[in-house]
C-alpha cells in the first residue's frame, strides 16, 4: 500500500498542494435481520477505495474513488487540487494546522472471537432463538432483532511523513418487541433502542444474552398498552443508562464540537450555545457531580482507536470537570484557534468522506457513593425512565425533548407501576445543573450509537458513551396533548 499512498501524496504535492493526506480504506460488513421469528434479511458487503485531502493556497480540496489503481490515484489527486483551487476563489482565512508530530504505528481493536469467523448458522441461530421467544408472547404484534458487524482497515499517510495502519471492528445486536392495540403502539427494546454496540468481537454479542431478557421485555410492551398515561408536571426523574447515554450525546457531545461552535455546520446540523468565551471562564455546565471526558482510549467504545483520521493519537480530553466547562472536541484546524492542540476527534465515514470533528467516547464518569438502586431508594417521589424512544434538540443544543419507552413510578424509594408514553424536556445547562446524584461504577456501562448523523454529504458516525444512571430534579415531564 505504501507505494500507492506515496503516489497520491507526490502527485498532489507536485500539482501544488502544501499539505496532503490520503486514506485507503477496505471495509467488510455483515447484517442479519429477524422479524417476528423469521429471518428477514442477511447481507454481506465489502467496499474499498481511497480519499485524498489537500491544502492549496490555504484552501481545502478532497476527492475520492473506489478504483484503487495508479491512474485513478493520479486523476483523483489532480481533481482534489483543482477543487482546492476552486475553494480558494471564496476564501477569507487561510487554513492553519497545528504542529502535531508525524504519526506512525499500527492499531487493532482487541477481539476475542472474530465475528467474521463465527459461522453464519450460529449467528442466525442466536438471533432467531431470542426473537422467536419474544414473538411467542401473547399480545406481541411484531418483533425485530438485528445483528451487525463492521470491520475497517485504514491506511493513513500524510505529506508530513505520517503513516498509520488501523483495523477497527464493531459489533452490535438488539431486539425490539412491539405491541399494538387501536391507536396505541408500545415498544420495548433490549439492551437499548437501536441495540447494544461496542468495538469488540462476537464475545460482546454472546455477553448480551438476548434470549434471557426478551420474554420479560415483551410482556412489559404488552402491559404498557393498558398502563396509564405518564403524568405531567415538574418532577424528579432518574435516567437509566439506556436513556442517559443519548442525553449525554445530544446535550453534551454535540455542543462541545468545536466546528459547530465556529459555524462550519451551521447550514445543516446547526451551531452551539457553547461559544468560546465560555472556555476557561468558569461556565457552569452542570452540578459539581458532572465530570465528562472525550476518551478515545476507553475499552470497548465505538469511538476507540489508535489515531484519528488526521493522524492525531487517541487521548482522553476533559470536557466538563466538576460541572465546569473546560474543553472541546477539536481538530488540527480548529484547536489552534483557541490556543490548543488537536484533541484527536477527526473521523471520516469511509474512504469517500472527509474527516469531521466527531464524538469519540463521551463518557459521564461514575461517582463513588451510591449505586443506581441506592439512588432509587433515596428518592421519595419521581419517575424512573428507561430506553430511548424519541429525541430532538434545537440547533444550538439548548432546548431538548426526549421520550422513553417506559416510565416506572417511584414512591418511597421503590419502583412502582408503569406509565406509558413518557416525555421530558428542558434547557441543557439548567438540566445538568439539576443533577443531584450520579451512580457509581456498578451501573457504569459502555453504550453507544452507530447512527450519529453529521455533515454534507451526510456521514454516519459510530460514537461511544459510557454512563451510569443519574437523578435530576424539577424536570418538566409529560409534554404535549395525548
Amino acid at each position: 500500500m505504501r507505494d500507492l499512498t506515496e503516489r497520491a501524496l507526490s502527485t498532489a504535492t507536485v500539482r501544488g498542494a502544501t499539505y496532503a493526506d490520503v486514506r485507503i480504506v477496505e471495509q467488510v460488513d455483515e447484517s442479519i435481520t429477524v422479524k417476528s421469528g423469521r429471518v428477514e434479511g442477511v447481507a454481506a458487503g465489502e467496499s474499498q477505495g481511497f480519499g485524498i485531502r489537500v491544502l492549496v493556497d490555504g484552501a481545502w480540496g478532497f476527492a475520492s474513488s473506489n478504483r484503487l489503481e495508479v491512474d485513478e490515484i493520479d486523476r483523483v489527486a489532480a481533481q482534489a487540487v483543482r477543487i482546492a483551487k476552486a475553494s480558494a476563489t471564496a476564501l477569507r482565512h487561510r487554513v492553519q494546522l497545528d504542529d502535531r508530530p508525524p504519526a506512525h504505528g499500527t492499531y487493532a481493536t482487541p477481539v476475542v472471537e472474530d465475528p467474521f469467523k463465527v459461522s453464519l448458522e450460529t449467528k442466525i441461530g442466536d438471533l432467531l432463538a431470542a426473537d422467536q421467544l419474544a414473538s411467542s408472547v401473547k399480545g406481541i404484534a411484531f418483533t425485530e432483532s438485528t445483528y451487525a458487524a463492521l470491520r475497517s482497515h485504514t491506511i493513513f499517510a500524510a505529506s508530513d511523513g505520517s503513516y498509520t495502519d488501523q483495523t477497527i471492528t464493531h459489533v452490535g445486536s438488539g431486539i425490539e418487541t412491539n405491541a399494538i392495540e387501536g391507536d396505541e403502539h408500545q415498544r420495548r427494546s433490549y439492551p437499548d433502542a437501536g441495540g447494544g454496540w461496542q468495538s469488540a468481537g462476537y464475545e460482546y454479542i454472546r455477553g448480551l444474552r438476548l434470549a434471557d431478557h426478551v420474554e420479560a421485555l415483551a410482556e412489559e410492551a404488552v402491559a404498557l398498552l393498558s398502563a396509564p398515561q405518564c403524568p405531567s408536571g415538574l418532577m424528579t426523574i432518574i435516567l437509566d443508562p439506556s436513556q442517559l447515554y443519548l442525553q449525554v450525546h445530544e446535550s453534551c457531545g454535540h455542543p462541545t464540537e468545536l466546528d459547530r461552535v465556529f459555524g462550519t455546520e451551521a447550514s445543516y446540523a446547526g451551531t452551539s450555545f457553547l461559544t468560546t468565551d465560555k472556555l476557561d471562564a468558569g461556565f457552569r455546565y452542570g452540578s459539581d457531580l458532572i465530570d465528562i471526558v472525550a476518551d478515545a482510549t476507553a475499552p470497548g467504545g465505538l469511538g476507540t482507536f489508535g489515531w484519528d483520521d488526521e493522524g492525531v493519537a487517541a487521548q482522553s480530553v476533559p470536557l466538563i470537570k466538576e460541572g465546569i466547562f473546560v474543553g472541546y472536541l477539536s481538530s488540527r484546524e480548529t484547536a489552534p484557534r483557541i490556543g490548543r492542540q488537536s484533541g484527536g476527534a477527526m473521523r471520516a465515514d469511509g474512504w469517500n468522506r472527509i474527516p469531521l470533528i466527531r464524538m469519540t467516547n463521551i463518557n459521564l464518569l461514575p461517582k463513588p457513593g451510591m449505586s443506581l438502586d441506592e439512588i432509587v431508594a433515596d428518592t421519595d417521589d419521581g419517575l424512573y425512565l428507561r430506553s430511548n424512544r424519541s429525541w430532538s434538540i434545537d440547533d444550538r443544543r439548548l432546548n431538548f425533548q426526549f421520550a422513553t419507552e417506559v416510565a416506572y413510578e417511584i414512591k418511597g424509594g421503590k419502583l412502582g407501576r408503569l406509565y406509558k408514553n413518557p416525555t421530558y424536556t428542558g434547557i441543557t445547562y439548567e438540566f445538568w445543573r439539576s443533577c443531584d446524584a450520579v451512580g457509581d461504577e456498578r451501573s457504569y456501562v459502555m453504550l453507544g450509537t452507530p447512527n450519529c448523523g453529521k455533515g454534507e454529504p451526510g456521514q454516519t458516525g459510530h460514537v461511544g458513551h459510557a454512563v451510569p444512571g443519574a437523578r435530576f430534579r424539577n424536570v418538566q415531564v409529560g409534554v404535549g396533548k395525548w
Partner: protein
C-alpha cells in the same frame, strides 16, 4: 479479467455476468443492482468555502434466490475474483437461512418497456465543475455581503446511474441527476434565515435569488422577541411542509407499515382537510424524477391522499405479494426490513397567494422551517421538533416581527386536518425521503410546547 465499466451498457453486461455466476452457483432466481455515483458538494460557512469534496463510487449487490431462501452480498470491486466471491457469499447465506414464505418471485418484465424519463437527467449537472459550484457559493455570499449578513450553505451536484437486472429478464437502467443549493444566512442580533432549491438541472438554480431570500430573512429576524408557547394558527412555508409530507410518508404511506399495524392509513379513512391531495409520482417533471425502483419495476403513480381521504399506499415486491396486488414500483435495495417508501411525493397546489395565506391569520405564527423532528407517538403521527431560521408573529394578517424559536409537539394528522388554505406556488425540495413538491399551507391550530433562547 473484468474491469469497472464506464457506460450504462457496460454495467448491464457486467450485471448479466454476475447473473450467470449466480446461476452456476445454483440460484433459482437472481437479481443484480448496480449503483454508480459521481457526486460533488461545495460547502461554505462564515462566507467562505470551507469544505469541497467529490467522489466516484460504484457498488454491486446480488440477491441470490434458492427457492424461498434468499441471500444478499455486495461489493465495490469488479474484478472476476470479487464477482465470483459475491456469488459464493450470497449462495452461502441463502443455504443458511430458513425459507421466506412471503417470497413468491422476483419481478418479471412488465408488459410495456419502462419509459425513459428525459426530465430525470441533465447533461449540465452531470458535467458540473468545481468552478460552477464555487460560482454558486460566491453568488450567495455576495448577496449576504450586500445585506450585511454571513452566508452558510452547500451546493451539491450528483449523477446516479442505476442498473437492475434479474434472471427473469428485467433490465432497467438509467442515469438521473440532482442538484441542491441550501443556505442559512446569519446576521447581527440573532437574525437567521433559510432558503433552498433543488432541481434536476444545476444551471436552473438561481443562487443569487436563494442568497437574497435567506439574507432578507436573516435581517428580518434580528432581535426576535420571546413568545409564550401554546396553540397558534400557523402558516408553514414550503420548507416546513416538506417535513410534514416526509413524516407521513415514513410513518404511514408504506404497505409494510399498514401490514404491521403501525400506520395511520386505512383506505377510505378521512384524515386530512378537503384541500389536501398527495400522490407519489416518479414521472412528475416538477420533482426529481425516477423511472423505476430498486427491483426494476416501473414506478406507478399512487394517489396517497385525495381530498383528505387515504386512498393508497406504496408497495414493493414482498408487501405486494402479501396483499396479492402488483408492486407499485417503490422497492428499496434488498435486504430491506424497512419496506417500500414514497420517494417522489407531490402535493397539489391550492389557490392562495403567500400574502393571502398570511393575511388569513388574525394572530398566529409564520414558520420558515423545522429542525430535528422525530416521532413521539408514531401511530398518531405525533411529532416533536423545533422551528428554525425564520419564525414570525402575524397579527391582523400582517407580519409584526420575529419571535424566538419554539418547540412543538403536534400530531401531523391533526395538522393536515386543520389545513384551511393551500398556496398556489410550489417548490421542489429535497426531503429525507427524496424529491418533494410542496406548496405553503395555513393550519388553524398548531401546538407549541416549549421555547428556547434564540
Amino acid at each position: 479479467m473484468v474491469s469497472e465499466p464506464t457506460t450504462v451498457a457496460g454495467w448491464v453486461t457486467l450485471a448479466e455476468q454476475v447473473l450467470d455466476l449466480a446461476a452456476k452457483a445454483g440460484a433459482s432466481q437472481a437479481e443484480v443492482i448496480v449503483q454508480a455515483d459521481d457526486a460533488a458538494l461545495t460547502r461554505f460557512a462564515n462566507s467562505e468555502i470551507h469544505q469541497n469534496v467529490a467522489e466516484a463510487n460504484a457498488r454491486l449487490s446480488l440477491r441470490f434466490v434458492d427457492g424461498q431462501r434468499i441471500g444478499v452480498a455486495a461489493t465495490g470491486r469488479f474484478d472476476l475474483t470479487a464477482l465470483k466471491a459475491v456469488a459464493e457469499t450470497a449462495a452461502q447465506i441463502a443455504r443458511n437461512v430458513e425459507p421466506n414464505t412471503d417470497f413468491i418471485t422476483l419481478p418479471s418484465p412488465g408488459p410495456e418497456p419502462i419509459p425513459e424519463l428525459a426530465a430525470a437527467y441533465s447533461e449540465a449537472t452531470a458535467d458540473a465543475t468545481p468552478e460552477l459550484r464555487a460560482e454558486g457559493a460566491r453568488a450567495v455570499i455576495a448577496e449576504a455581503d450586500a445585506a450585511g449578513v454571513t452566508a452558510y450553505g452547500s451546493f451539491a451536484t450528483t449523477t446516479e446511474t442505476i442498473i437492475v437486472a434479474n434472471s427473469l429478464g428485467v433490465r432497467a437502467s438509467g442515469a438521473r441527476t440532482t442538484s441542491q443549493l441550501i443556505t442559512v444566512s446569519m446576521g447581527p442580533s440573532g437574525g437567521s434565515g433559510y432558503a433552498e432549491m433543488a432541481a434536476v438541472d444545476a444551471t436552473r438554480i438561481d443562487a443569487a435569488a436563494i442568497g437574497r431570500e435567506a439574507s432578507a430573512r436573516a435581517r428580518a429576524t434580528a432581535n426576535a422577541a420571546s413568545i409564550e408557547p401554546g396553540d397558534y394558527p400557523v402558516v408553514l412555508e414550503t420548507y416546513a411542509v416538506v417535513d410534514v409530507l416526509d413524516m407521513l410518508g415514513y410513518l404511514g404511506f408504506s404497505a409494510l407499515a399498514v401490514q404491521e399495524g403501525r400506520s395511520f392509513v386505512e383506505l377510505g379513512r378521512k384524515v386530512g382537510s378537503e384541500l389536501v391531495t398527495i400522490r407519489d409520482d416518479g414521472a412528475d417533471p416538477a420533482g426529481l424524477p425516477m423511472a423505476f425502483d430498486y427491483e426494476g419495476v416501473a414506478k406507478q403513480r399512487v394517489a396517497l391522499m385525495t381530498n383528505g381521504v387515504c386512498t393508497g399506499v406504496v408497495y414493493d415486491g414482498q408487501t405486494a405479494a402479501r396483499d396479492g396486488v402488483p408492486s407499485t414500483g417503490h422497492g428499496l435495495p434488498a435486504p430491506n426490513p424497512y419496506g417500500p417508501f414514497p420517494l417522489n411525493m407531490v402535493m397539489d397546489a391550492g389557490t392562495s397567494s403567500r400574502d393571502e395565506l398570511i393575511g388569513g391569520l388574525e394572530r398566529g405564527l409564520l414558520v420558515t422551517r423545522f429542525h430535528y423532528t422525530n416521532p413521539v407517538h408514531p401511530k398518531l403521527a405525533i411529532v416533536t421538533g423545533m422551528t428554525r431560521d425564520g419564525t414570525f408573529l402575524v397579527e391582523d394578517g400582517r407580519i409584526v416581527g420575529p419571535v424566538k424559536n419554539l418547540r412543538f409537539t403536534q400530531s401531523y394528522l391533526d395538522a393536515i386536518a386543520a389545513i384551511s388554505a393551500v398556496g398556489r406556488e410550489r417548490r421542489c425540495l429535497k426531503g429525507f425521503l427524496g424529491g418533494v413538491v410542496v406548496p405553503a399551507v395555513r393550519i388553524d391550530s398548531w401546538t407549541f410546547t416549549g421555547a428556547t433562547e434564540h
